[in-house]
Symmetry: C2
Subunit: 192 residues, 2 copies
Amino acid sequence: MNASSKPERTRLSAEDWEDAALVLIAEQGVGALAVEALARRLGVTKGSFYWHFRTREALLQAALERWEQYGEREVISQIESIPDPRVRLPELFRRVAHELQPHRVYAALLKALDHPQVVPVMARVSQRRTEFLTVAFREAGLPPAEAVNRARLTYAAYVGFLQLNFTLGLPRISHEDFDAYVEHMIATLIPA
Amino acid sequence: MNASSKPERTRLSAEDWEDAALVLIAEQGVGALAVEALARRLGVTKGSFYWHFRTREALLQAALERWEQYGEREVISQIESIPDPRVRLPELFRRVAHELQPHRVYAALLKALDHPQVVPVMARVSQRRTEFLTVAFREAGLPPAEAVNRARLTYAAYVGFLQLNFTLGLPRISHEDFDAYVEHMIATLIPA
DNA sequence: CGCAATCCATACTCAAGCGTATGGTATCCT
DNA sequence: AGGATACCATACGCTTGAGTATGGATTGCG
């Protein structure tokens, strides 16, 4: 029980460092990922860090891969439980729209794309998700050629939305307005 | 001996530094904006820089504001020359899609949103452009409530596209596929 | 011409952050 | 128990890049 809660572990594992790194990234961006700062956060010093990782970049790499694998089974497995392909897409939109936490890391990585290490990870993840959307749109009745483009458009809209409303705090949209936006998006992007 | 490719001013102005900064940003991102590096690029040293600017952040600030003002009259004035509101939007899409250079800086800033200084600038620019789109969609026949959301969706799609295809080099889309994507986007987002 | 004002170079200081060296303490295993 | 292994602290070196001090060069202008 106290294995993964707050309670001060006496010793740390590499995974602990990776998780802490992801939290820090979500909060303050990739640029804030410094080993001494992280160590302070975990109540230890550099000495510990350099036992687990050879370099700072190694940590970032490991953390990113950890996030990538974690996010793999997240949305996709959840959405495949919806049998009817017609309902699947709008339902996916609504669910994604109403979660919050999972998007934080993604948004943080999105606004840190000038760090070369995150580019390939984001490329892979985005690629997979777009392909997933492509299939979904085909199953929803779109001809293949259109399904690809609609998937691109949809995922681009998702990415852009995160940037505009998460990172930039464009005029804080209200809760009702947000719901209206989501429904508008569904109506516009999903074939009747 | 000193006859380089560029006009080679003998002395530099603050504006020269700002322009050079924007070029550097477009090429290598905000993170690469260092005063000694930039000085080398201009064939001078730090001594020059710190005469024109009090600090590195002052340069970034000035460069961003310069970019913001420059981009102001760029797209908007050009598009207002198209009288028919129905043709205006698809035409805007096509033009924007076929330019390249103006998007480089925007994309570079987009992937550097973890630098606090660029956030307010991008917020202002994005806000203004979205409002512009809102008006355009209203003039194209959408009811006001929908026009706002369609504008948000459209601009988000633009931002996301830049991120996915510019920054991440998602499977380098071909020229014909790109045109098809643009037309698909027009067909999907612009009311008939 | 000659003196200001403007622009630039050189040579520093200083702080941040990564990485290393080395020794200490806890934990496991037999 | 007691050594081996895993984890951590302290202290240092090194590099990068920002900012300062100061004097030299160039230009505008009276």
